[in-house]
Structures are given as C-alpha cells and as structure tokens.
Amino acid sequence: MSAATIYVPGDSGALSMGAAAVAAAIAREADRRGLDLHIVRNGSRGLYWLEPLVEVATARGRLAYGPAATHDVASLFDANFLAGGDHPLALGPTEEIDYLKRQNRLTFARCGIVDPRSLDDYLAHGGYRGLGRAIELSGGQIVEAITASNLRGRGGAAFPAGIKWKTTLDQPATPKYVVCNADEGDSGTFSDRMIMEGDPFVLIEGMTIAALAVGAAAGYIYLRSEYPAALVALNHAIGAARARGYLGASVCGSGRPFEITVRVGAGAYICGEETAMLESLEGRRGMIRFKPPLPAIAGLFGQPTVVNNVITLASVPVILDRGAKFYNKYGLGRSRGTLPLQLAGNVKRPGLVETAFGLTLRELIEDFGGGTASGRPLRAVQVGGPLGAWFPDAMLDLAIDYEALTGAGGLLGHGGVVVFDDTVDLARMARYAMEFCALESCGKCTPCRIGSTRGVEVIDRIIAGRDRAANAELLRDLCDTMAAGSLCALGGLTPLPVTSALKHFPRDFGLEREPADAAARS
C-alpha cells in the first residue's frame, strides 16, 4: 500500500496556531507506529477558526479534522483518522463544510488544496492552462479578454484592468514592466498573503499573461516585509517556473522573455499606493508622484508599467482559461466576477470568503461569520481597511459591491471586513485613524501631514469632554480640508472612518447624551 497523504497547512495563519508543531507531532507519531506518511504543507482553506486544519486523503475524498493541537495527535491515530475514522475533531469531507461549499472559488480554486511548492501539482489542478491560451493570442486579444471579463482592480481603486493594460499595450516605448502590488497594508485583509503562500504559481502565471499582453519582459513583485513566508514561497515558485521554462528567455518556447524579481518593502503603508511603490522600487522614499503621467504610460524607471494587485493578477489565469463570459457571469451591476472577502476582527468564524459580488454584509458576518466571537452584540463594522467607513448594525443589509458601498458613503477597498462588538469606542477608533494617517503620511501635502496630527488633538479634546460640539465642528472642517486638499487617498480618505464614526456613533463622542451613558462615563 502506498503512503497515506496528510495535509497540514504551512500558511502563516495556521502556523500562528501551532501548525508546525502539529505536523511534527504527526510525523513522530507515524514513525512510532511504523506508518508510512506523506505530509503536504498546503496553504490554508481560509477557515481560520479551524486552523490548524488537518486533512487526510481518503477514498471518500479529503476529510478534515480541526482545530488540531499536538495533544490531539495520538488520539487521532488511535481513531484511525488516516482511514477517515471518527474523532471529536472530525469535520467530514472538507468540500462539504458549509462555509466552503457556499463559496464560488475561482481565484482561490487551488488554495489550500495543492502543494504550493509543487509545479506539478499546480499543473495537475489546471494550472498554466490560462497561459497556454494566452500564448496563442496577440497582446490585443488578451487585453480584449480581460476587458470583456470586466475585471476591476482588487487593490482598492477598482479601476478596470483591461483599460489599464490597453494603455500600456499602446505605448511604443520599451522596456515595459509589470509590477505586482503585494503591499497588502489594510488591516483586516490577508487574501494576497494566502494566495502567495498557498498558490504562488497562479500569481506568477497571471503576471506572465499580463506581460504577454502588454509586451513587458520584466516584472517585480513589491512584497511587504511583514510577509516573510510569502517571500520564501514566491522565490521558490519563481525558481521552479524558471527551471521548467515558464519564465525566462523564452516563456514556454514562445520566444518572448519574462523574468520576475521579488522586492521586499520596509514597513511603510504608503508604499501600497502605486506611485509611492514605484518610487520605492527605484530606491527612494515612498513619496507619492503627481499624476499624470499615469504609471501605465510612464511608471517604473519612467517606462510604461502595469501595476496591479495580487488578487487582480491571480484572477487573470481563470479568465483566460475559462473565458471572459464565464467570469462575467458572476456578480451584479458593474461589479463582475468574484471577490475574495476577508472576514476578521471579533467574529466567530473569520476567514476567506470568495463569492460573487452581491452578498450582503449581514450574510457575510452572520451566516458565514456566525456573529461575534465574544458573544456580545455586534456594534460596528469597518469595511475596506483603515481608510474605509464604519457601519452600524442597521446598515448591514448593504450588498457588497463597489457601487453599493460607495453609495452608502463607504468603500469596498481590498475586501476586508472587520467586526467589533459593543465594547468598541468609536471615538478611540476615529482617533486611531488620524494617528495612523499621521504615522504613515508621506509628508507631501500639509492637510495630510499636519491635519492628521491636529485631528488627533481635536479628538483628544472631544474625548476629554472639552467643548464637544465646537470641537466636533472643527473636526468636520478638518476632515473637509483633508479630503479636498490631499494628493492621494491616505489624506483624502482618512476622513471617511472619522466622519462615519461621528455620524453613526455620536454617543461615543459624547455628542448625544443618554442619561445612563453620561452617568457611566463621568
């Protein structure tokens, strides 16, 4: 009989819950019992409350056990989990777990399933079929497919990817570049990390297709330094792809070259903004550039450059493989395809939820998330990272799509949803938003650089109960000035969490006195 295959995620979220020790304990126990085991360190399925989620390959498909700790290992073997035996941690067939079953996993089709270190596994699960198609097409035809799919940038600004690619394709200047934005700075987001750790080849394939489309010979991945495991996974995958001719002087024998280099950032949120990122790649401070020129026309080293988010690029292979129509079928309105949402904060079942656009926030938080982790009432949700708006419970029936959230005074951003229970103090969170802006401002514009520091002071006065109404007015004015006078969205959108907190949660700023509340606070 051949060795049984066990999956223990090597994803850093799983590692943070002890997956390495669990994998080691399983190997030791198998050894002790004289069993032959093949342990794969897969990515995460994104069901984080179940991590470390151990899976066993059986005749009935993959069966899940979790969350597993080292002290469970002996009993798992005793229960004969290698043959799917019953155990208190048994969750049944992984694919049948409701949380997973209800998703539309297109971009994340392989994440958590394949061995991220194995190019063969990637190929066996449909990898590089998109590139296979792309190689037969002209650059213009690839761009047309992306345009027809209505894929919009997943990094935050939701700009149509096809239009951006067309702009770069149309530039006569060479060389051209493809830059992948892997700076993922928004709190509450981790989809980029999961893909890079769990299915790095799909990002490499997406970048390669982008390069063929626009005529670029070199690509960079700008990776945030907080993701060391992703760095290892990417560099390994790039090496494997190169060794097999998927990267290099002649991609798949097409005669067209493409190389990818990973560059690691140095802990600056602002370098997630594309022009600051280009500055950083060129070896300078991450200062925002004036636009125009657009990076698509004059980007890295002044050359035409496509800059896209990890998830945007990782969604390209499935579009080429299965066709724009297939992708476009998902979603609603102008938000087409699927979005990997990231559910985090105070929620019972946090994780990655890739579905077609159109799910409501409530469905996400209650049906998928199971409500708060603390069991206390939910009070506020921040959608779209540190520059996103705060919503009260009463607004959770909003559909998750770009236009609906913008219409409600918020933004979808990179798809992070962070849940807070009733212990949250929105005045403190508003203060934090200003503090974060002050900390991360590139310093180019006064409203952002100085305004954010003033914002902290004004909110401190409100919290201290000094002249609340007047200071709230001052805070609103300050927010208007920042929104109007900032060059980029850091200064321009920091007002969003602040004013939405003021608007929906005035009590936390002491602006609507409720007798019980006032007594409790004084």
């Binding site: 709190s187 981790f190 140095a266 950083s280 401070r285 990231q342 985090a344 991360e440």
Partner: protein, 159 residues
C-alpha cells in the same frame, strides 16, 4: 546622548558591493543590511552613499522614511505586536499593556539590559487569528496574556 555603537563595516561593504548594480539598488541594500545586522548603522550611510553615487542626505532620507530600518541595534529578543484594527477588535490594546508590563519595556523601546525590543506593527495579515504578534520571527495568533507568557518562555533567547 548618542553612544558610538560598533557595527560590522566589512559585512555592510560586502552587501553594498553585491547589490549596487541592481536597478534601484538602495532599497535592496538597506533591506539586506537591516535583515543581516538587525539595524542600519547611521555610520554606514556615508559608505552606501559613496558606492551609489548619492548624497548622504539622500541616503539618510530613505533610511529614516521607512519604519523597518532601525537606527540602533535591537535587543536580543524582538517582540512585534500588531496594533491595527482587527487586532484591536480582539483586545490588542490590553495585550500591548500586558506585554509592556511583563517585559518591563515601553512600546517602541529596547530594555536597558538589551534583552528585548518591543515594537508596534500595523497588520501582520493574520487578522483572522487576531490579536497577532511576532516573537523572534515566529508568528502567533489569538494571543491572550496567558498565551503570551507561555510563548515567551518557549521562544526566548538569552545570551
């Protein structure tokens, strides 16, 4: 009061020589120095500037812009605590207080005996297992004060 700190000039020189021809070489150079030495010695700025044909002010400007580049050597242990929203939703602020008390070091500082540096980070991408911290490069999720105390004994280096 600045104390002259010794730094490994040979190591820095080797890094600079190895990377100076990369496009946009300054960032990879500083990154490698930070990774290998644990800090970017202010005294190395002149050497880097000369090799890249930049002014010292330019190099200094870049070093000081990025949060990761330390201006002094870190303690023997480094604890990084996430302070961003998702972790706050799960008690990061109280955790920071606990850690600071337990280690007897302020956030952003190195203890006087050089045993530990405590730093804030803003999201480790582990928001689904908040609050998250990193002790000596090892990531930990769902960190309660008790779990922290336990982890510290496991991951600690003491020379």
């Amino acid at each position: 009061m600045a104390i002259e700190q010794t730094w490994d000039e040979r190591a820095v020189r080797a890094i600079v020589d190895g990377l100076k021809d990369e496009p946009g070489a300054l960032m990879p150079i500083l990154r490698r120095i930070q990774d290998d030495l644990g800090w970017v010695p202010p005294a190395s700025v002149a050497l880097i500037a000369k090799a890249l044909n930049l002014s010292r002010a330019e190099v200094h400007g870049v070093v000081s812009f990025y949060h990761d580049f330390r201006h002094a050597p870190p303690g023997r242990n480094v604890v990084r605590v996430c302070r961003a929203e998702s972790c706050q939703a799960m008690g990061a602020n109280a955790l920071v207080d606990h850690i600071s008390k337990h280690l007897r070091v302020e956030l952003g500082a190195t203890s006087a005996d050089g045993a530990v540096t405590l730093e804030a980070v803003y999201c480790l991408g582990n928001c689904a297992r908040s609050p998250a911290i990193v002790i000596n490069g090892r990531i930990l999720g769902c960190v309660t004060p008790a779990r922290f105390d336990e982890a510290v004994t496991e991951c600690w280096v003491d020379r």
